[in-house]
Symmetry: C2
Subunit: 454 residues, 2 copies
């Protein structure tokens, strides 16, 4: 009997290129627009925020982009990550389905986020950048970028959503240990922050607000660049190392997924696990399903609209075509996870619009229930975000049992929860409630959007 | 140029046996004594606390003991763990030394402790035990045992040293998530706890006190057994899976250590990495040095005495021959790490007495300094305990540079620090001070020991 749990690749078997799915999409994304003129953006418009190489990647139609050796060298600290057969979960659910997960929690920051943090820090370093600003929600992105900038002696300032800053002090400590400085957002350091605080001194903050602050600080200082941990094309592309590895590992396991699942904030971990398998759907007609799982409290994919919208709350970023709840939308702070973002990346949005992927929204108590079940049978405590994917996996595995079909499920275990245990405390104490955003709230939030023809 | 960082074993290459070094020691340990009669202990005397199979292992002189398949199956969740070449640290220190570390932080509990927690839970389960008590210092052991008992539906009660209980709430949450219950020690639940609280209501607790509480609760209930995370022979033996894997991995790397380093609390992670390499010293005359690194605030190996002493503070456990500071010794609470234990395991003590291993004491600010350096160049944030080993590694690597000798250093990266970030906060804020236990304090503490001929 084969009892192998983990399927490893050697460091030599690591993929050498990121996959740019944009090249293979039948419908390309609509162009990003300048926030002032509303005209399509040129690469010069972004030069104040990003190094040229990342702007090039953002707009690239090359199918593959080579991973620089210096980036590979840092990837090798934790990559290739294991693909794991969740045999105990299968047994517990008594399902005919086979369940695999890609364990991205093995990175030193505990999540998939370093996959893009490292190349972003690297390209900034190569162009002489000495200081970067960014935002972070639950803290996964900020700690990943702190980890990455540490290798390149780049000063990092992190605007951390206030509700998380207070709930998750260890995230701040991690960022400090890697040498970054952290401030709670909204802050008094930026005009954007002061504007929000004037309206609501008790604002819990949101990713959208924190982005405004980080972008503003970078835009005002020619020496400073900005870095984003999700949504953008180049960010999603860097994450495809996950799926490229998983493809090779599934092949070693002699298997191929019928359904690929990832939780969804802005799109980066979902894209990372999905896009390389999606290539086979786009180019070879494979039938695999792809399910993006978002929280019911922030349901942009399932109940938002496909519109041009800002990436931030104040309206400083380019306008991007996306499924959105409106950039003014502030998800209820009752929600524990880091999936509290109003919009979705352009590529993922286009793929959803074109029917190549699906989306589902789950409640957080259902997610935590699945997360605790996973911790007790598979041993690893998942991040609150990751529990959303697990809830979907459990539902798919139960459906497979009902229908009596053996199917192969692959999901991205995007991060562990060891630095997010306060959320579990809240869950166990009964303090976490489910929140269904109302249609009225969504309508009101979307009302503020200017109509730009999509 | 070879840039490989990690040397992996496949699951099939995993060692199938633990190594019992006792079989190969020229001088066996003196027998444990009954706490009342002071006569050598029979296996019946321990039957109230431990399942028979563990008592057998504790007293065994077999050279190897086979790892049960069910234990192997759970080991495979994270084992074999990677052996990593610390190339960035080597470069930073500009040393001719090669530095390898065994990364035990990849376990779901974040440390090496599950290596013995899993078999202990398993053997209890096999003998029908439904409830276990234990103690935990910094929380690594308690969370590891909670992780392990979760697989076998065993109820677990953890007495957690009060200073850590307050400093490390996430550890408690982890244990709860895996299904265990946790109480701060000293507690009102036991006579031992009440006795300590009567003397000092503000007692910060210590491992010795927490052991008394856990042992008392198990001894008073015939349905309940007790489990210890270090010190005892069978515990150290279970940890040898670390060194057995490392032996194979060093061979794959085409290398062999000149010095093996582990931090030291009661001996389990040090023994785990060392004993399989020590076998080559005992049987084949290899010259490798073995360095146990303890905190200067709790220096039993370097400044304690070799005596019969209790494992706990109240005096409920058998008397063991050990290097000790006296069971009344309560390490200063200023110390952040989980190495605050008054004594050392019998086997390690005998090996130190016989000159097969060495010991060194380091201050905690030096340790944290080394830990932060490691986090920034190698990427992984070490547990406060592990930083003690790293401080020694840095000293050895610098010495190699001064002497111009290439040597190979292997150390055990026993755990990550992500659930111990409060200690790093204290370090950065300057709140951590070094504490050199005075000779007078040690003399006074040892004075209370009854003299039993050693």
């Amino acid at each position: 009997m084969n009892k192998t749990r983990k399927i490893f690749l050697t460091e030599k078997e690591m993929p050498t290129h990121w996959y740019n799915i944009h090249a293979d999409m039948p419908n390309k994304t609509l162009p990003p627009l300048h926030p002032g003129t509303k005209k399509p953006l040129g690469s010069d418009d972004l030069a104040g925020l990003f190094p040229m190489e990342l702007i090039k990647q953002e707009m690239s139609m090359e199918q593959y982009i080579e991973i620089p050796e210096r980036v590979m060298d840092i990837y090798r600290i934790w990559r290739p990550s294991p693909l794991v057969r969740a045999r105990n979960l299968e047994k517990l659910l008594d399902t005919p389905a086979k369940i695999y997960y890609k364990n991205e929690s093995v990175s030193p920051a505990g999540s998939h986020k370093p996959n893009t943090a490292v190349p972003q820090a690297y390209y900034n370093y190569m162009e002489g950048v000495k200081k970067i600003t960014t935002e972070t929600g639950a803290g996964q992105w900020g700690s990943a970028l702190a980890f990455a900038t540490g290798f390149f002696d780049i000063e990092l300032k992190v605007f951390m959503v206030k509700v998380s800053f207070n709930q998750k002090p260890y995230r701040k400590s991690m960022m400090n240990t890697w040498g970054a400085s952290v401030v709670a957002s909204p802050s008094e350091l930026t005009e954007s922050g002061r504007k929000i605080l004037a309206q609501d001194p008790d604002s819990p903050g949101s990713l959208g607000i924190a982005i405004s602050e980080a972008v503003e600080m970078a835009a005002k200082d020619p020496e400073t660049k900005y870095s984003l941990g999700s949504v953008l094309n180049h960010v999603l592309m860097h994450q495809t190392i996950i799926g490229e590895e998983a493809l090779k590992q599934m092949e070693k396991a002699g298997d191929y997924p019928d359904v690929v699942i990832g939780c969804f904030g802005g799109g980066s971990n979902f894209a990372g696990i999905s896009f390389p398998f999606l290539r086979n759907k786009l180019l070879n007609g494979h039938k695999t399903r792809f399910v993006a799982v978002e929280p019911s409290s922030c349901p942009k994919l399932t109940r938002g609209e496909f519109r041009y919208d800002f990436g931030d709350t104040v309206g400083l970023t380019p306008l991007l075509p996306m499924y959105t709840l409106g950039h003014d939308f502030i998800p209820p702070k009752i929600h524990a996870g880091g999936l509290r973002y109003h919009g979705a990346g352009s590529i993922v949005s286009q793929l959803l619009k074109d029917g190549f992927i699906e989306a589902n929204a789950v409640h957080q108590t259902e997610s935590f229930e699945a997360g605790v079940m996973f911790a007790r049978c598979e041993g690893i405590i998942p991040a609150p975000e990751t529990t959303h994917a697990i809830a979907q996996v459990v539902a798919e595995a139960k459906k497979a049992k009902e229908e009596g079909v053996a199917k192969t499920i692959l999901f991205n275990f995007s991060g562990h929860g060891l630095v997010d245990m306060a959320s579990y405390d809240q869950y166990f104490s009964g303090a976490l409630h489910d929140y269904e955003t109302t249609q009225e709230e969504i309508r009101k939030s979307l009302e503020t959007l200017e109509s730009i023809g999509v």
